[in-house]
Amino acid sequence: MSTLAPPRSGNARPLRTDPGGRPRRGTRRLARREAGFGFLIISPAVLFVAVFTLAPMIASVALSFFSWDVITPPRFVGLDNFERIVRDDAVVSSFGTTLLLAFGIVVVQLVVGLGLAVLVNQRRRPAAKTFFRTTFYLPLLASTAAVSIFMGYMFDMKFGVINYYLNAVGLPSVPWLTSTWGAIVTIILIAAWQQVGFTFVMFVAALTSLPTDVLEAAAMDGAGPVRTLFGVKIPLISPTILFATVVAMINALQLFDQPFIMTKGGPGTATTTATIVMYQTGFQNLQFGYASAIASVLLVIILAITGLQFLAARKWAFYR
């Protein structure tokens, strides 16, 4: 018989085991009871996820094999919806637009987030750090719809404040939202601006927790700030960069609010993302089966890109 050492504090009873090291019957019962209690505690969250996330996902994937207009009963059509996606230029083009916008948003979000985090991390006064952390995080707390409406007014070609100041310094008005590349760049900048707080906060936390001995060693070896940043700090926070990239990419691939509100997916289809096509197909054209098939393909694309990111990270992410 052996008894595990009791914890230093608290009233938890030591786990009793038999000579073979296995928990005794009474202990097993206790473990089962504790496990049951644990399951009970997490069951509301599991139930919530099951009802509001898992079930709709399964239903949506299942619906992609049906033709359904909401009003009449669904009709099984096999893989027809998926075959149609391949032939539908509008849908294929929307996936291209989604990838373009997502790539732009993620790059801007990571570069700006990291740059701001490095600058803020160099501040010595805690009050300044707190101020900048709060300021850069604030856009993330604002409603995306409200921000999009507001930004739509700011970037309006006719009376937007951006063009007002451009005109004030003698520059011509820019068709921010009414030209193809103007709309793409504006949507990327606004989406990245709103999300940058998320990556910024993660990078600040990662940079703050860097081991001082490594940084001191780099300094003793004569590494300057730039060399330290690229040769020491960035490699050390690479797992955080990986996580931020994955999360940012998943979010960006589901972009909807900004282009839907600011440009209605235009001009033409320049900013029509896959999610906008899903909305139009399902809720406006009443082709819910086809819209679900588009959603399923988007899900597969997101999973594939995420998988690729993890595979690529094996080469560059550094785990201590």
Binding site: A62, L63, D69, K158, F159, K264, G266, A270, Q284, N285
Partner: protein, 462 residues
């Protein structure tokens, strides 16, 4: 699904059944709960803010109580920038199992809802109550009634409409040394006006418009003698014309059973010319790049004196007044003639949902809604044009303007409803996308070829 269930169910059939089962699991809650709520509540959908819907509900409740003491009216407001937003949300609500009893819907959604059998034909009700409705039919323009027909049946009783006229800023016209345009003005006159108004200042645009089906570049298309779809009419409708309008057969000569929208003509020569006309206005700096849907921005610009002319209907009388414009600071004229004097309009009215369990009471409410006294409860402050001519009075427009208010109703003669077929939502999506594409690239023909292809796909239902 019965065809896949048999005695010898193979693996494929089992898989199909499994898929159907999963789908049903997800869809079950959506499809199962049809019906229209508790037995003492009658529900109506309304395009607007919930606060306005609630106010409307309070005002209408006493009238509903007169019809049924125990009945409670529930008006739900649905927001949206345009009718396709409204319709998408209505259809979603129906899918969620909370189909209402009544709906106030415009021309944009009529054929969509009728073709899906979401609304019921009102023919038998109208025939039954024709004597009590005679004063209504005597008062309302048959063009509005015909616009609410589909395949020979009447699906809504109209109470309002908006015809696309040309509003102008009297201040800017005066500044440009221009007199009010005459009723017979043409698009050449319009261009002269635009050039002179634009010369009044660097921050002034002569003309602005909104990308949408109603009152967009489509107004120029109609004036150019074209349309987005082939115009035709369903047969039928005589059951109504020969009874309700028996004393005025001239007014209903040529009327049919509703507008039949045929093959797409989106890239016709008339369409290309009309869209190029608008693009040229922008190139000449006479017009800014237009917004998509709604018109709130345009209203703000017009009311602040930065826009000289724009397309509007009776709804702008109240809209501009509410935006702070004083009576006399704006006025209206018929849409200018181009190759024809054809103009467009859209109507609004009330229909009954097929799923309603209180259809008879709903019909009584529909009749109540088209009574003259209901109009200002439903639309306070001239935010649309009354369908009943008796309500078109100088007194109505005395506090809001415009002076030339009679144009609204007069323009109905010879006008055609907006081309809103059963696939209206797909049409509106394509119209918005292809128009903005044409404006950003300057290539109207290529954009309209794309629109034509989109419409052809929509006609086939793919």
């Amino acid at each position: 699904m019965t065809h896949i269930i048999g005695a010898g169910m193979d693996r494929r059939a089992l898989l199909k059944l499994g898929g159907a089962g999963i789908a049903t699991l997800g869809l079950g809650p959506l499809t199962a709960c049809s019906g229209s709520g508790s037995s003492d509540t009658i529900k109506m959908l309304y395009f607007g803010q919930q606060s306005a819907a609630t106010a409307l509900q309070k005002k209408l409740q006493p009238q509903v109580t007169k019809l049924d003491k125990a009945m409670k009216l529930e008006v739900t407001g649905i927001n949206g920038t345009d009718w396709n937003d409204f319709l998408a949300k209505v259809l979603t609500q129906i899918a969620s199992g909370s189909a209402p009893d009544l709906v106030s819907v415009a021309t944009e959604g009529l054929q969509l809802m009728a073709s899906k059998e979401l609304l019921i034909p009102l023919d038998s009700y109208v025939t039954k109550d024709l004597s009590s409705l005679q004063s209504y039919f005597d008062d309302i323009h048959p063009a509005l009634v015909e616009s609410m027909m589909y395949q020979g049946h009447l699906y809504e009783l109209p109470d309002s409409f908006n015809a696309g006229s040309m509003f102008y800023s009297t201040g800017l016209l005066e500044k440009a040394g221009l007199e009010a345009p005459k009723e017979s003005w043409t698009t050449d006159d319009f261009h002269t006006y635009a050039t002179k108004i634009a010369a009044t200042g660097p921050k002034v645009y002569a003309f602005d418009w909104v990308v949408r089906l109603w009152g967009s570049w489509t107004s120029f298309l109609y004036a150019n003698g074209g349309n987005l779809l082939e115009e035709g009419k369903y047969s039928g409708g005589d059951w109504l014309w020969k009874s309700a309008y028996k004393d005025n057969p001239a007014a209903v000569a040529g009327r049919g059973g509703g507008w039949k929208w045929g093959q797409p003509t989106a890239n016709s020569a008339a369409a290309v010319e009309a869209l190029e006309y608008l693009i040229d206005l922008q190139r000449s700096n006479l017009s800014p790049s237009p917004d998509v849907g709604g018109g709130a921005t345009l209203q703000g610009l017009f009311s602040s004196g930065r826009i000289g002319m724009t397309i509007g209907g009776g709804f702008w009388a109240g809209g501009l007044h509410n935006a702070g414009m004083k009576d006399g600071s704006f006025d209206v004229q018929r849409f200018p003639t181009w190759k024809s004097n054809k103009s467009l309009f859209g109507a609004g009215g009330y229909g009954i949902f097929n799923s309603s369990k209180k259809k008879d009471l709903a019909w009584e409410i529909v009749k109540m809604m088209v009574q003259p006294e209901s109009f200002d409860i439903m639309f306070p402050g001239n935010v649309t044009t009354p369908g009943r001519k008796s309500l078109m009075t100088a007194e109505r427009y005395s506090s809001t303007g415009p002076s030339n208010w009679s144009v609204f109703y007069d323009q109905l003669e010879g006008s055609v409803p907006i081309s809103a077929p059963p696939y209206y939502n797909a049409l509106a999506t394509s119209l918005n996308q292809r128009t903005t594409k044409a404006i950003s690239t300057g290539n109207a023909k290529a954009a309209l070829d794309g629109m034509q292809a989109d419409f052809e796909k929509a006609v086939k239902g793919v």
